[in-house]
């Protein structure tokens, strides 16, 4: 049996008195593409942010590649990880954000190069060559010197994907990567993600793109109100939803 890439058991997350995640249990296998669906406020994005410890979970267990997120277990005690240890683990997980979050003071090339140089101490020439190759791969070989403000939303998001890939992650998290894009720009970003999935990357994708879910996902998870309502293959969940809430949601979206 293969070790899961992500394993969540009864994950709870509260913001003050608001309980956002009410016990999430799921596993993602290496090479699997999981799409998280659900209405806004259902906790999908929060769960994604917990996986690379941008948010701290309040109870339950969450591990990536067999190691707990944010803690070290010794005996029956949990020890908080140092910031440097957390950072090292984050470096192995790529994340793509709804609003791209490119560094506006750097060119596309610098955006992609910066983390390998600063975090992984990759020599500058190698980081440069690798960044060029990545930007070519996402279809932007002629935008190396462009600043984010000079790029369209779709181009910015593809630079953001290249930036995450530059760290050679073992897991990619996509937080509504196409929600902030004009409809005609969505296609290029989805194409880049599809290509990545085809290369065997483990991916967790929060999206409202049903077409992408149906075509690319191995597993679709429907979340509502901080809980997993339904899990299964895209055909099953999208084609034959068992739960009333899933049906209600899909009837509005499709």
């Amino acid at each position: 049996m293969t070790e899961p890439m992500v394993r969540a058991e009864g994950v709870h997350k509260r913001f003050g008195r608001l309980e956002v995640l009410k016990g999430i249990t799921l596993t993602v296998l290496p090479g699997e593409v999981m799409v998280l669906l659900g209405p806004s406020g259902s906790g999908k994005s929060t769960f994604l942010r917990c996986i690379n410890h941008l948010e701290k979970i309040n109870s339950g267990r969450l591990s990536v590649d067999g190691e707990l997120v944010g803690y070290r277990e010794a005996g029956d005690k949990l020890y908080e990880l140092r910031e440097s240890e957390i950072a090292r683990k984050r470096a192995e997980i790529g994340m793509v954000f709804q609003h791209f979050n490119l560094f506006p003071h750097m060119t596309a090339l610098e955006n992609v190069m910066s983390a390998p140089i600063r975090v992984n101490k990759v020599p500058r020439e190698r980081a440069n060559a690798q960044a060029r190759a990545l930007l070519e791969r996402v279809g932007l070989p002629d935008k190396l010197a462009a600043y984010p403000a000079q790029l369209s939303g779709g181009q910015q998001q593809r630079v953001a994907i290249a930036r995450a890939l530059a760290m050679e992650p073992k897991l990619m998290l996509f937080d509504e990567p196409t929600s902030a894009l004009d409809p005609e720009l969505v296609g290029d970003v989805l194409q880049a993600m599809k290509q990545l999935a085809g290369e065997g990357m483990t991916m967790i994708v929060v999206t409202h793109e049903m077409g992408f879910a149906a075509e690319v996902a191995d597993t679709v998870v429907f979340m509502d109100d901080g809980m997993v309502v339904e899990t299964g293959s895209p055909d099953r969940v999208l084609g034959d939803p068992r739960h009333e809430r899933t049906r209600a949601f899909l009837s509005k979206v499709l």
Binding site: R90, M95, M106, R118, A149, A160
Partner: protein, 314 residues
């Protein structure tokens, strides 16, 4: 003058004539312009013809070695006090934003104290520090280990007193400016940098501060210009910077107005240089914020000359 795409449509065919209307007459504006011109002319006339102004005295002292020494000292004091202010300000701002109240608390207290007391009082305080601490030493407190020590009167010279007064005070103001800049950078930037595995220090240095600079530079330029002139307060504690240098001269020759004009000319000249510096700094840190950089005045002039030459050779 028709461009390449326009050739097949002659201007008369189908294009309606431009509107020709009698423009509104702005009589009020003409009256205002006349009044301003009259006032300006009379001002220039009175300044130029006033024998008592003795412009030749201004010219005589403008490059007097004592004045130049004062200019140099003013510049030195401004640059070093601002350097202290900026370094302190960044440190205090980062401290102030710390989630640890034992770190943010002292920063708040510092900023409050230095903003709550007049800088002139602070200058006089440092100047007189020897009255309460006649001996100053650097070492480990309470255990009696001292690395260096000396009498306060030799360590705290008038220059050091001025530097401490101006620099420590400036630190408090710079802290607020830097803090505003740091806060202005969106949280998404930190999220993205963290998700790439950058450390807190790397995020601050490589991601947040360079972007905060765009917000920090304009008020910092303002502070520098302000510091250049506030440094004249150091004349009160007998530091011979530009203002005291002029005072020393006019206390002997009794030409205060002429020498104050000399000082003003120098202050204005130095401020103008700072204006230029600020412009280019802002441009540097504005990278990426606009789709296209506006041309610098030099580029505009050069471009203008080029197009003139092209017109001429045509």
């Amino acid at each position: 003058m028709s461009g390449p795409g326009r050739i097949e449509t002659p201007p008369t065919a189908g294009r309606p004539d431009d509107i020709r209307a009698v423009p509104v007459r702005h009589r009020g504006r003409w009256v205002a312009v006349a009044l301003i011109l009259l006032f300006g002319a009379s001002l220039i006339h009175s300044v130029a013809t006033n024998k008592l102004l003795e412009w030749h005295v201004v010219g005589h002292f403008l490059f007097d070695p004592r004045i130049i020494d004062g200019v140099v000292l003013t510049l030195e004091l401004t640059v070093t006090a601002m350097a202290i202010g900026v370094i302190l300000g960044v440190a205090l701002a980062v401290m102030r934003l710390s989630p640890n109240p034992l770190v943010s608390g002292p920063s708040w207290l510092y900023i409050w104290f230095f903003r709550a007391t007049p800088v002139l009082v602070q200058l006089l305080f440092w100047y007189n520090i020897a009255a309460i601490y006649p001996r100053i030493s650097l070492g480990i407190p309470f255990v009696g280990v001292e690395f260096v020590h000396g009498s306060a009167n030799t360590v705290i010279t008038t220059y050091v007193a001025a530097l401490l007064g101006l620099g420590l005070n400036e630190g408090a103001y710079m802290a607020e400016i830097v803090r505003a800049g740091i806060i202005s950078v969106g949280e998404g930037q930190t999220d993205a940098a963290q998700s790439l595995g950058m450390s807190r220090l790397q995020i601050m240095r490589r991601i947040v501060l360079p972007q905060a600079m765009r917000v920090i530079i304009p008020p910092t330029g303002n502070e520098t210009i302000s510091m250049l002139k506030t440094s004249s307060l150091a004349s009160v504690i007998t530091l011979t910077e530009l203002l005291l240098a002029t005072e020393n001269i006019y206390s002997v020759n009794f030409k205060p107005i002429q020498l104050l004009i000399v000082a003003s000319i120098w202050y204005a000249a130095m401020t103008s240089v700072l204006y230029v510096g600020q412009y280019y700094l802002e441009r540097h840190y504005g990278r990426g914020s606009a789709r296209e950089m506006p041309a610098t005045p030099f580029q505009r002039i050069r471009r203008g000359l080029f197009s003139l030459r092209r017109e001429a050779t045509r």
